[in-house]
Assembly symmetry: C2
Homo-oligomer: 251 residues x 2
DNA sequence: AGCCACCTGTAAACACTGTTAACTCGGTCC
DNA sequence: GGACCGAGTTAACAGTGTTTACAGGTGGCT
């Protein structure tokens, strides 16, 4: 008797359920299957009703991307939770492995968030400041970078010569270091100022390039030959990555 | 008077024109704009007529992918032609830079060929042998690998310990080395057998991971911060890449 | 010549798609 | 009671991939 129709429940619940169904269709049948009518059918309503909640299919997909990033962040946070708090290397490894595991388990979502050319879909303009934001992706990046911050606080890295950092990049790197320091400090991690020199920031960039390249190639099956068991390939890249930054001890 | 209707021209011409228009739509308006009706409109025919040439839209897109790979190959070959024949390092650099230039100039095509999760779209089963082929992509890969072959023939590389190659990967690497040797020999490049040990093959894999990662991140704008001028970032990766394989001399 | 098969195209239709407009129903507030 | 508003409906439009049945020209065969 207390059956609650959709009208009774708070609006946010329906919004969430819409995105959930959209994601289910995305995961199970690919991007093209994310159809307003299919979503509405799952909710027991009609397609035009969705326009009460989202401006368009594109708008809906944008919100779905945000949800995906939040979930990815939660998954990685859970992974980190299983690692000893003071094991900075283990934390970084957990994030890297977790990112790969998630990407392989959710190739469609990975493609949508990390391999779609439509740039505007991932940026939102903050009305008050006018600055471009990528709200949810930053939430994922933050986890990655927090782990890096912990690592920096705990270990002395093998730094390349700061002269090797290309001149034209210093401006960007300095700006990025600023956001990094703010973020790390906000997380309560003590970090000596000079531990985050430009070489370190530059190294993190290289780190991300290789992690992303490896994962994307695996998801898209674009290695130059058939890899029967990609896991040791990934693990070997991880150890080499740690090796390159002067941490040869970790397994 | 000699106006040739579509009926007169050889079938292959129409097939090619269809794919050309499909690509034009892809480049100019994105994947979703590649519509059978839009293609037919450009050719002055109706949509169902396209089914005389392709089984479905998916089938057409598959052939378009092949065309794209052929064109990419031609572009890179032209790049190589501008380099001194005996400058192996220059050749590798030309291929890497050409790949980046092409990807940035044709993001939609890059996404379709190198960042699409639909794996079956890129494989064709050879009827006689039953082996899986990726016909056109191999044409691109061949250029990349030929340059690597030349490099190997001309320089002594800095090899990592062969023990570092993960055990589970040796089978794949050995198989890949086989196709590599066949390919290089077919091109008439003399290569001492032991120059292509597993470490070298493994190194080429790492090379590809970093090149792909860098280019894809740039195309998709997924660097962790805004890069105002990505070119020096790419160039610095290239020099570091050459540095890592023991070729610090090249500019 | 006649005929028949084939090839290439068409028009019509079907079941979809995103999106808009007009309308209805239920609840809330004055 | 009446005005308003939010959430949903139906109907419609233009556009999509795809199938079916049909038309007209071409070439080869008897």
């Amino acid at each position: 008797m207390t059956e609650t129709t959709r009208r009774d429940r708070p609006r946010a619940d329906t919004e969430r359920e819409i995105r959930q169904q959209a994601r289910r269709l995305l995961v199970e049948q690919g991007r093209e299957a994310v159809t307003l009518r299919a979503i509405a059918r799952e909710l027991g309503i009609t397609a035009p009703a969705l326009y009460r909640y989202y401006d368009s299919r594109e708008d809906l997909l944008r919100r779905v991307i945000d949800d995906i990033c939040v979930d990815l962040g939660a998954e990685l946070t859970a992974d980190i939770g299983q690692i000893d708090e003071h094991d900075a290397v283990g934390g970084v490894l957990a994030v890297c492995r977790g990112f790969r595991r998630w990407a392989l388990a959710h190739p469609q979502e990975f493609t949508l968030v990390f391999a779609s050319p439509d740039d505007s879909a991932h940026c939102v303009v903050d009305d008050s400041t006018g600055k471009m934001l990528r709200p949810a992706k930053d939430q994922f990046g933050r986890i990655f970078l927090n782990m890096a911050g912990k690592l920096l606080a705990a270990h002395e890295l093998l730094l390349p010569d700061e002269e090797h950092v290309p001149e034209e990049l210093r401006g960007d790197l300095i700006a990025f270091r600023g956001t990094l320091l703010a973020q790390i400090k906000q997380e309560g991690i003590e970090l000596p100022e000079q531990a985050l020199n430009l070489s370190v920031v530059y190294l993190m960039l290289q780190f991300w390039v290789r992690l992303y390249g490896q994962v994307a190639l695996e998801v898209f099956g674009r290695f130059p030959f058939a890899v029967t068991n990609p896991e040791p390939l990934f693990e070997s890249m991880l150890t080499q990555l740690l090796d390159d930054i002067g941490l040869a001890d970790a397994a």
